[in-house]
Amino acid sequence: MKPSFLSFGSWNLFTFLLALLFALPFLSLLLTAASGAENIWGHLLQTVMPGYLKNTLWLMLGVGSGTLLLGVSAGWLISMSEFPGRKILEWALLLPLAFPGYIIAMVYVELLEYSGPLQTQLRQWFGWLNYQDYWFPQITSLGGAVLMLSLVLYPYVYLLTRTAFLQQSATLLEASRMLGKSAGYSFLQIALPLARPAIVVGVSLAMMETLADFGTMQLFAVQTFTTGIYHTWFGSYNAPGAAQLSLSLLMFISVFIMLERYSRKKQRFHAQSSVQTAHPRYRLAGIKAFFALIFCLFPVIFGFALPAALLIQWAIESWRGVMLERFFSDAGNSLLLAAITAFLGVSLGLLMAFGSRLSKHRRVHWAVRLVSLGYALPGPVVALGVLLPFAWFDRTINNWAEATFGFSSGYLLSGTIFILVFAYLVRFLALAYGSAESGLGRITTAMEDASRSLGKNSWQTLKRIHLPLLSSSMLTAGLLVFVDVMKELPATLMLQPFNFSTLATRAYGYATEELLKEASLWCLTIVLVGLFPVILLNRQLRKSAPQNYQDI
């Protein structure tokens, strides 16, 4: 007889309840959606929705292939080959991660538009008088948006696939090479399929982040599904309609994720060898080394160095006219939120991934997967989703306190940074969970079984077996959450407590007044603060990877 759900053990119940807590926003979205009085669908489908869907699809395809190409190629080159500059590029390739899409987009618009420095200079050199005299690519376009988002989102793919490549057993690849297969064949037939879960997680994260984006799309005048959600909510003040649209977005993503999972259902890869042999790197020489260098330099320069240099220049030009007195508290608030959320996110992500792995109950698997969907929700939708339950909770406590003690307790959870952290977790738990899950996927069930048969319980097994083996995956998760919280804007704006601002909200404050230069000091700081965990992470990754690199 199958043991009942509740009696199955505390892990099941714990994981399930944890997942349910973070699925609360979906419940409030459902309730909001159901409260809608008018039907918006007919009107939207007849008018703007087809265009939104077309743009969204192209955007997803574009960013998906862009991040795949940049991330996997760079990950492969860095982990499998040796060429001049590789050691620097290994961490430099992570840098664009620190750039929020909306900021890099603003910088490039400023640089590349007609009145920007580049075109002005070109006109001077060539004597062109106006825009009809020459052709210049339009940055504010769908193509421009794809390029921008690919440049800042490929590090997800790079980070996760490189970790996967590094943790693959070298013996498998050696065997392939010894059997006379080419490097290309070994890559396509062995390394790539083994890294597939990691690649898929990376690319889906990039695509989900793209779906949720509004700022970049608004700047580039690209209307996507999320544009529809914003217009319905903030244009027509139809929150139920926006909730309905958000839910259908979630359904679309669920189908997408299910299809992918189904397609690799039969494949479960574990590193078979218990001996983690160091990877031999193929030393590239001559033209090959040159191309590898150029390829890896491209995203670093355009996704980081150039925009950062421009921000530095603008920050120097403008720092006298900005609210410097608020600078340190903004930075402190951002750091605090990012650190708390990263710590909680990693812990919760690991617990959920572990609990879900232990569980044989589909209910648990579904609940955990539901939580990962938060990543694709636009910030304000997440904000609304968390505001409803916590404000309700606060009102209830408040009424009780007033009735019992005669004083008001105020908004304990929904009026403090608690709600911000919770919203970030809803939004970014997918990052932590995804990393933990793909890390766990590389630990054989045989190892768990061995530990359990030696009399260790699941907590001890988690501590003694998984945690040491997972440290690099968890660091990755922590970094991703940290950086994403630093960058998060729309939910922070909507849920900010009184007298509380972050680097991102201050930068937005200037940018919304169309003062990009004044915003640049704060933008720059978001990027620079994001660098610390990137560097820290890279050190740890190196330590945890096999040290004795051999060259052949």
């Binding site: 007609y114 009026g415 729309p490 007298n499 509380f500």
Partner: protein, 345 residues
């Protein structure tokens, strides 16, 4: 181990620590106006009254915050009419009931039910290329949408609040069907897909992508202040449309007191201060906005607006007197016709 009494003491002690319980007079506001623009006003107010102002700066989602957290917010400051009318419709404001504000702010700039008041006004004008367009070729908003118009028009996204308000005023004036065909005409005459912000429209004219654009006086004032942006702004003039009929469409920044306000008296005081001489003078001189209080002069830059236009002297022009509450009523319809003509695409 903790016993129940200790836990209780801890909880109550913790609750009492919360800043909400500070005894000094204070007021909690949501502001759409950004901190670096609003803080100078609040500093003066705090100094004068001893009332501390706590602020959260957001443009989206204030309706939801007011609905879900009654009592947390006392007043709302906006830079556009839409949130004022939408939240008034949702029944989340209370009448302001201030003789000071009634004296300072003309009736067409206040809600008929006294639920909100304007604090400044901004005109939605036509930016035109000084090189390619003569003011005699310009007349009305309506003319920009006429077929055969030789001026290419640029706008920012039609869904931006300033444009939604303008479209709503067209609906109020002509009805939805006429407004829709005007919007379609505007789309047909465009020089490029709607994109960028208000400063972006000025740049688009400078670049030659379009000859005229819809924009806000406020940003032009800000551009003329800055050396790096002056070349673009100098290439572009401001034309006040519809001077021969209803006047130029005005949008407002404004304020309101929430229904569940715990510090309603302080909130009203803040609005009174912002509608008073000093604040109105600051709005006009520092931000180049139109003061709503009579007798406050325009800034030098604002006095230069409409310089080449007949009938406009020292920046004084005919304003559309229609009450903005009426414009708020047509907002949904405005979004609908924007969708129908697929304006942004």
């Amino acid at each position: 181990m903790f016993n129940n009494k200790k836990i209780f003491t801890l909880i109550v002690g913790g609750l009492l620590w919360l800043p909400q319980f500070a005894l000094a007079a204070q007021v909690n506001i949501l502001s759409e106006r950004q901190e670096f623009l609003l803080r100078p006003f609040l500093d003066v107010f705090e100094e004068q009254t001893g009332i501390k102002v706590n602020v959260a700066y957001l443009k989206k989602g204030s309706l939801e915050r007011l609905k879900q957290q009654p009592g947390s917010v006392d007043a709302l400051l906006t830079v556009d009419i839409s949130n004022l009318t939408a939240i008034a419709d949702a029944g989340l404001f209370q009448p302001i009931n201030s003789t000071v504000i009634n004296q300072n702010v003309p009736a067409n700039y206040r809600d008929p039910n006294d639920l909100w008041t304007a604090l400044t006004a901004r005109a939605r004008v036509i930016y035109y290329s000084r090189a390619r367009v003569k003011t005699s070729e310009l007349s009305t908003y309506e003319a920009l949408g006429k077929s055969g118009s030789k001026q290419r028009v640029c706008t920012r996204s039609g869904y931006h609040k300033y444009n939604v308000a303008l479209i709503s005023s067209m609906i109020a004036e002509h009805g939805s069907a006429t407004a829709k065909s005007w919007l379609q005409g505007l789309k047909n005459n465009r020089g490029r897909k709607p994109s960028g912000n208000d400063r972006g429209q000025v740049k688009a004219i400078f670049q030659g992508q379009c000859d005229v654009a819809l924009g806000n006086t406020y940003y032009m004032g800000k551009m003329l202040e800055r050396e790096d942006q002056r070349p673009w702004a100098a290439a572009v003039g401001i034309y006040f449309p519809n001077q021969a009929d209803r006047g130029t469409h005005m949008n407002i920044s404004g304020g309101a007191v929430t229904k569940a306000a715990k510090n309603a008296a302080e909130a009203v005081k803040l609005l009174e201060f912002l509608s008073g001489n000093l604040a109105q003078y600051m709005y006009a001189q520092v931000n180049h906005e139109y003061p709503v209080k009579a007798g406050i002069g325009y800034s030098g830059i604002v006095q230069g607006f409409g310089g080449g236009q007949d009938g406009v002297k020292k920046g004084v022009f005919k304003q559309d007197q229609r009450n903005l509450a009426e414009i708020g009523r047509h907002r949904k319809q405005a979004i609908k016709i924007l969708d129908e003509v697929n304006f942004d695409n």
